[in-house]
Amino acid sequence: MSDQRSIPVTVTSVFEETPNIRTIEFDRKFIINPGQFCMVWVPGVDEVPMGFSSENSITVQKIGEATEALFSYKEGQRLGIKGPLGNGFSPKGKVLAVAGGVGAAPLRTIALSGRVETFLLGAQKESEIPFRDRLGNCGEVKISTDDGSYGHHGFVTDLLRETDLDEYDTICVCGPEMMMKGVLSVVREKCAEERTQFSLARYMKCGVGICGSCCMDSTGLRVCRDGPVFRGDELLKSPEFGKYSRDASGRKNFF
């Protein structure tokens, strides 16, 4: 039973990616696999899962109580970081990254290591694009916006459909589940589901694989520990992926 405790860190800088997304850098580097996450303890508020967006940062989208509290964090303030947690991506060979919104955060760690050939990034509108010019040295970055205010007018799945997947050895995906569901059907059409890796989000209470709140149907695999990254062919078998997830109490919510 190895320790999984909250390590205190001090915020060293805050970068405003978009009006709703901020990258918080701290004074401690964690040894991570790309796609691993941490449980971020916001003292007095809550503890929530966040992907590492680099070895010493998280990138937070304002959603509710904990993320709003995080949003107000300034240099010098302290957080607890429990991690790295989960399996992370296993990028091999040429990598295609497919991100929706803040889902770019964990994919950025592959890009920072110079291993992403092509990065497809979808956002609602130009002002909502995170990590602009901060994605590391990818071969190519293609952006889509729902309203067409920047890049391709449409969804990131459109960009994906145009892409010759045979050129890539690994496809790594992270974003809202309905977007990932769309990605799954595209890669399936192109018979690439086995080399596509999806980073899932489920309600996480412990993050370390003991409480069971993040388990997927019908394998019972824990997103926090057996995941968060699962292969497309695994997800195709799941009655849950793209259909529902469970809330804090364990009740199902359908997307």
């Binding site: 039973m1 190895s2 320790d3 999984q4 405790r5 909250s6 205190p8 449980m39 303890w41 003292p43 007095g44 508020v45 809550d46 503890e47 929530v48 302290r78 607890g80 429990k82 209470k205 412990c206 993050g207 370390v208 694989g209 003991i210 409480c211 069971g212 709140s213 388990c215 997927m216 149907d217 019908s218 394998t219 019972g220 695999l221 824990r222 469970r246 809330d247 804090a248 109490s249 364990g250 009740r251 199902k252």
Partner: protein
């Protein structure tokens, strides 16, 4: 090491198990799929997440810290309440024990009524140390233990009562449950505990304090099992810090007829398979031979 002989089925407190190793309540027990996974990976039975009369979201995080080889948690009994019936319906016939809680005998009876069909039996959580109005707040008072147990034992289904070590006398609580018709006692739930981050100057759990589990509490659990074995005649299920076959034997020698395993799943969900691999052998002794033998 002593090994046990595993017969076709193990019957403890009215419930038929596949072996002596049971998944403890609240650990990987939120969904039917997860419970099924643990059964498939070698558990002889599983206890569900504790289910109460109303859906609960539980405490704010952090809910769990794993430090210095021990776990502290304050989940706050999150549960989907009645919706949980559909989680375990597909497991009907398997050794699934529904852990239930309530604030009074009526609530216990009501929650129990939902699982009459799907569960092999009940485990009453009168022992969670960090849930206002529930758990240990009932389990510290032998009269309330008696009444809540009575309310469920009336159903005729096997009723295991899970006790808290955070009382002056666990034997008194066990005796009350026995009088009320419990078919087994489970000892122990977590031990009241707290850690504080000296850097952040705040308790490390969202709820402030929580319950200690894992290796650290094994000697406390052994003592509780011992005391109950001396005081009561119904079977005892040992729980707390069990992480090896030798721990299982030790619990049994103290008086346990079976054991529950919780925190040790942190070492891997295959912990049940691993322990069985060491615990059982063709020429092992029968469990009856060693249960309580250290009392002689």
């Amino acid at each position: 090491m002593i090994t046990l002989n595993l017969k076709d089925s193990v019957s403890v407190g009215g419930i038929d198990l596949k072996n002596h190793l049971i998944l403890a309540a609240g650990v990987l027990g939120t969904t039917g799929a997860s419970l099924n996974r643990v059964l498939e990976s070698g558990a002889g039975g599983v206890v569900t997440k504790s289910i109460g009369p109303y859906p609960k979201e539980g405490h704010k995080g952090p809910c769990v810290q794993v430090l210095d080889g021990a776990v502290i948690n304050a989940m706050g009994l999150p549960n989907p309440s009645r919706d949980f019936t559909e989680e375990i319906a597909p497991l009907k016939g398997k050794p699934v024990i529904a852990s239930i809680f309530g604030a009074n005998p009526e609530e216990f009876a009501e929650v129990a009524s939902w699982f009459m069909d799907s569960a092999a039996g009940f485990e009453l959580n009168v022992s969670c140390p960090h849930a206002e109005g529930y758990g240990a707040q009932i389990g510290s008072d032998p009269d309330l233990v008696y009444e809540c147990t009575r309310a469920v034992s009336k159903t005729g289904k096997p009723v295991w009562v899970k006790l808290t070590p955070n009382v002056t006398s666990i034997a008194d609580c066990g005796a009350a449950a026995e009088r009320a018709g419990a078919s087994a006692l489970v000892a122990i739930n977590t031990v009241r505990a707290m850690r504080i981050s000296t850097d952040l100057r705040k308790p490390m759990l969202g709820n402030g304090s929580g319950g200690l589990s894992g290796d650290a509490i094994f000697p406390i659990a052994v003592k509780c099992v011992w005391d109950l074995y001396e005081a009561c005649d119904i079977p005892i299920v040992g729980c707390g810090g069990v992480s090896s076959a030798d721990n299982v034997i030790e619990m049994m020698m103290a008086g346990a007829s079976a054991v529950e395993i919780g925190s040790a799943v942190l070492n891997g969900v295959d912990i049940f398979e691993k322990i069985s691999g060491e615990l059982y052998s063709g020429d092992g002794v029968s469990a009856e031979e060693i249960v309580g033998c250290a009392h002689e």
